[in-house]
């Protein structure tokens, strides 16, 4: 740290080409997520389904005290839970379709959100550190998640879910490559 650093060289950018899995067809530089992420999301909502059913049934049971419901209380749980499951099943597909990211020479761009759309651009020089992590469900499907942090951010600025581990690692190296010094 105490010796003067060599003058900053023009950064050599790692080639983004090996990262390319099949991206959406409309633009060559936008990349999509691994299709396996849909299953991860769907299994996640499947796990939450009993909780939804119990909450709905309990509410219906409580309502039954005051009002005469035209159906048994447990039916409310079954109906609400299946509606929720169908909804999240559909949403997982839409979320997957909406998710895309692009690695430009200077910046990382991501776009996601089905109803509330978000497009974020993080200049690569601003990235302070990058995490690659994967939960048990992710691992079961051979997926990993990349989280990106900038200065001053309390949590991750952006997390890209559903990447193949080698894609995740290549993305991390590409994002950090700019900042490494000889």
């Amino acid at each position: 740290m105490d010796e003067p650093l060599p003058p900053a060289e023009p950064p050599r950018l790692p080639d983004a080409a090996p990262l390319l899995p099949a991206g959406p067809p409309d633009s060559p530089c936008w990349l999509g997520l691994h299709p396996g992420i849909r299953s991860v999301w769907r299994i996640g909502s499947l796990i939450a389904t009993p909780i939804v059913a119990i909450v709905a049934a309990t509410l219906a049971r409580a309502l039954q005290e005051g009002f005469a419901l035209p159906f048994p209380w447990w039916l409310a749980g079954v109906v609400v839970a299946s509606l929720w499951l169908a909804w999240s099943w559909w949403l997982a597909g839409r979320r997957f379709a909406a998710w895309r990211y692009a690695l430009a020479p200077d910046e990382l761009s991501v776009e996601h959100g089905v109803f509330w759309r978000l497009a974020r651009t993080v200049p690569r020089v601003r990235i302070q550190h990058v995490d690659v992590h994967s939960g048990p469900l992710d691992r079961a499907y051979g997926l990993a998640q990349v989280s990106i942090y900038t200065a001053g951010s309390e949590g991750a600025v952006e997390s890209i879910p559903g990447l193949a581990p080698e894609t995740a690692e290549a993305l991390r190296d590409a994002l950090l490559g700019l900042r490494s010094r000889p």
Binding site: M1, D2, L5, A8, P11, D106, E107, F115, W116, R117, L118, A119, R120, T121, V122, P123, R124, V125, R126, I127, Q128, T150, A151, G152, S153, E154, G155, V157, R179
Partner: protein, 502 residues
């Protein structure tokens, strides 16, 4: 550079009073528990607590405080701040001095009597201060400040700054008593005090059966006054309460910000100090300022005054506790542009070409307010039965007016190398963000916004919490996307020249 290279004589300990300060802090957190225990003992009504608990609690506290004093060491060596502490879990922290964002000194009344200060050192990480040295003797704190400052100046971009041995201080702003009185008088705290009084009234009224009608009855019975006179007396009492709260709020402000001084040291650092009882002193390197925020509520704006905040990277929580990132509590509106130039020499605030957002913002603002009003009316109408429905049309007119004012306040501009944004009807905020300090940009659109082809542009700096950056809502979507691309490109280009990314 390793910690082992630091010669033993460079390591320093905290001031011995650390033990006392630590005890006070530990027990300060449990003060209300202790008070409750003692009160319970004296009243004899509560359960009896064994003295053993007290002794054990005290003993643990003393042990913790002693350990802190005996295990914490710090050193400044070769441009790095080293911190060592812990017995079981040893921690060694290394902070390169040129990464330090700001240095805060806090001296409580007790500290001023005993000549010790709390020192907090912040880097750009999001949570908490990175080094808290509490407490140091005044002299040690000054030595540390000087050691950090000289190193910072040496590593700063301007090489001639390092040559200047002792930079002269140029005062930028100094609080007069008139400033402080005006500041207190226009503080929103009056509202908070009023709310407190109102809730106190309800709580007390609920317990003792006192209410407004009883008060009026009492007044009537007392003086044999008519109902109108009694009502007037009640109003007078209320006015007195409000005035009392207001005067109290002015007093608080005067005590908190007494002697506020902002000075520029010649080496590119700002020195700020204020406080009558607890004294705060901070060093803010100018090149670390991520954004300026000019804020004025309606009364202040009408009188022509603005409050200026300088955002540095780091934790928002600590900054708020340390008296916010305020640099000028009350700046004359005519001096805004000149003052901003001290921070950003290239900026001409008065020449900025402000652009409005989409007119759809009026409609969206009105709908949002109208929805809230209708919901409240519907709920209240259902639960009360009798409800003054005739207020609804004038309220809706007010909502429309508010929506229009909100649209008028929402503006943005690009002035040279600066991104400007403003907003807020009652509390107006004007942001000045050097485009070189932008961390990321985002364009967001809700389903309602997408139907109208408008979007929200978010521009983030390294400031934390609500001070993170600007949000311009309801821009035309194409404008938002174009601005996002341009700002991100500018940030990327500038970032290549900033090795630490801040």
């Amino acid at each position: 550079m390793s910690e082992r290279a630091v010669p033993p004589e460079a390591w320093h300990r905290l001031h011995p009073l650390t033990v006392l300060a630590e005890l006070l802090r530990l027990f300060g957190q449990f003060a209300y528990v202790l008070v409750a225990i003692v009160a319970a003992r004296f009243l004899g009504g509560g359960e009896r607590f064994d003295d053993l608990y007290f002794a054990a609690l005290g003993g643990v506290g003393v042990l913790v405080a002693l350990l802190r004093y005996f295990t914490l060491r710090y050193a400044v060596w070769e441009g790095t701040l080293y911190l060592r502490r812990g017995v079981v879990f040893r921690q060694a922290r290394t902070i390169p001095v040129d990464r330090i964002q700001n240095i805060d000194l806090k001296q409580s009344l007790l500290g001023r009597l005993t000549g010790v200060v709390d020192v907090k050192i912040e880097t750009a990480s999001g949570s908490g201060s990175e080094a808290e040295l509490s407490v140091l003797s005044r002299a040690a704190a000054e030595r540390l400040k000087a050691a950090l400052a000289s190193r910072q100046a040496a590593t700063a971009a301007e090489p001639q700054a390092a040559a200047a041995p002792a930079a002269p201080r140029v005062p930028l702003w100094q609080a007069t008593l008139g400033d402080l009185l005006l500041l207190g008088a226009t503080q929103n705290r009056a509202g908070a005090i009023l709310g407190g009084l109102a809730s106190l009234y309800f709580v007390v009224g609920g317990y003792s059966g006192v209410n407004a009608r009883a008060g009026v009855d009492a007044a009537r019975a007392l003086g044999g006054l008519g109902a109108w006179a009694a009502a007037a007396a009640a109003l007078l009492a209320l006015a007195l309460l409000v005035a009392g709260g207001w005067i109290l709020s002015i007093l608080f402000t005067v005590v908190k910000y007494a002697g506020f001084t902002l000075a520029e040291a010649g080496d590119g650092r700002l020195l700020r100090s204020y406080g009558l009882i607890t004294r705060y002193e901070s060093v803010i390197p100018l090149r670390r300022v991520q954004a300026l925020r000019l804020v004025a509520n309606w009364p202040r704006r009408a009188l022509g005054y603005w409050t200026v905040f300088a955002e540095t990277a780091g934790s928002f929580v600590d900054k708020e506790a340390g008296g916010a990132s305020i640099v000028v509590p009350l700046l004359d509106a005519r001096e805004r542009a000149a003052f901003a130039r001290h921070f950003f020499p290239g900026l001409d605030l008065d020449a900025a070409a402000w652009q409005p957002v989409s007119r759809h913002a009026i409609r969206r603002g009105f709908l949002r307010a109208a929805r809230l009003i209708l919901l409240v009316f519907l709920l209240a109408g259902i639960s009360f039965g009798r409800w003054p429905w005739w207020i609804l049309p004038p309220l809706l007119v007010l909502a429309a007016l508010w929506a229009w004012l909100r649209w008028r306040a929402l503006r943005w501009a690009r002035a040279g190398e600066f991104w400007l944004a403003s907003g807020g009807v009652w509390r107006r905020t004007v942001w000045i963000v050097p485009e070189a300090k932008i961390q990321w940009v985002a364009v967001e659109a809700s389903p309602f916004q997408r139907r109208l082809a408008i979007a929200t542009l978010e521009v983030a700096t390294a400031g934390a919490g609500p001070a993170r950056g600007t949000e311009v809502v309801d821009l035309p979507a194409a404008t938002a996307r174009a601005l996002a691309a341009a700002l991100a490109a500018r940030a990327a280009a500038a970032g290549a020249l900033q090795p630490d990314g801040v």
